[in-house]
Symmetry: C2
Subunit: 216 residues, 2 copies
Amino acid sequence: MAPVKVFGSAAFTNVARVLVCLEEVGADYEVVDINFPTKEHKKPEHLARNPFGEIPAFQDGDLVLFESRAIAKYILRKYRTDEVDMLRESNPHEAAMVDVWTEVEAHQYNKALAPIIMECLINPTAYGMLTNQKVVDDSVAKLKKVLEVYEARLSEHEYLAGSFISFADLNHFAYTCRFMETPYASLFDSFPSVKAWWEKLMSRPSMKKLSANLRG
Amino acid sequence: MAPVKVFGSAAFTNVARVLVCLEEVGADYEVVDINFPTKEHKKPEHLARNPFGEIPAFQDGDLVLFESRAIAKYILRKYRTDEVDMLRESNPHEAAMVDVWTEVEAHQYNKALAPIIMECLINPTAYGMLTNQKVVDDSVAKLKKVLEVYEARLSEHEYLAGSFISFADLNHFAYTCRFMETPYASLFDSFPSVKAWWEKLMSRPSMKKLSANLRG
């Protein structure tokens, strides 16, 4: 069987969201680099894969997908086994908790954390822009409140959705990894259960391997 | 069996995202109003349902959920029949297309459209603030580009995920409905396939019924 293809660079967080799932399920895959400086992502060949001209895109035979979270779910469904079942769709209550904390990542956690990465790491290096400290300060304040909720949750449950690792946890990998490069990484020290959860995730072979490739 | 409970007001878009699913599957449900002016959503009883102090929250027996998209998926799974199968999880390719366009709603469509609703409808009436026209203009420009992609998709497929109605379509109901109250509603006239899709959705009994309750 031909390996599935991921279009994008492993250095990008939304590509890594897909790659961590492929690593966790042990799938055979190929990363096809899309050259940003030459705007390859805006050319017709890539627009046919992703009409919004973004990365990643994904191909499995005739099936072409975009949107990293949708690609990730397809992968986790396709390669699901009794041992590696990250969506838990056969158990409605477990699946619901996976969905809740997957949505929390998108709409609470990432919304607070991503602007800090953008302002501290990406804007200064990729675009030669100064860090907007007001955006950083507001986002750090928001992130603290989000981490309070995570601390309460993770002090009672080993993983976000319950006693089992799931897509909800994997989803936090790439952005948190980059956040740990910012001057605000020590924020996690105030939340011991969150920190222990993060260290447990980062000890997984998938995340050890991929974290080396992540950069702005 | 006791009806499931939705905590929030039917006037709010994210509550309506849940209600439209309950109507589509024909579930027995009760809306428990959460009083915003008295900040009931920030009180311990509601924080126990939703630790972020937002609406909606949801209860089905012992199971308590939050995040509207996660609640919606739980409902669509629980009440799934061969006739009403809005997630298509038994068909990996169809499920993937539902997921792709569900993510597009969250990360492309809603991101462009919601600020227009906020600036034109909610800020002036609920908070006595002036409309920030720059935000509106930027969002309208983004929305046009998103609608170009939707037009291409819907000129080839009856619904977003393919030939079948799905959660991806339902998800557009509440915000689009409110958008149609803004001075920019005529934007849809330039996209005939999008407009036809929207009118077909709005002819469904679920949406006819709920649209009357939506307001800022």
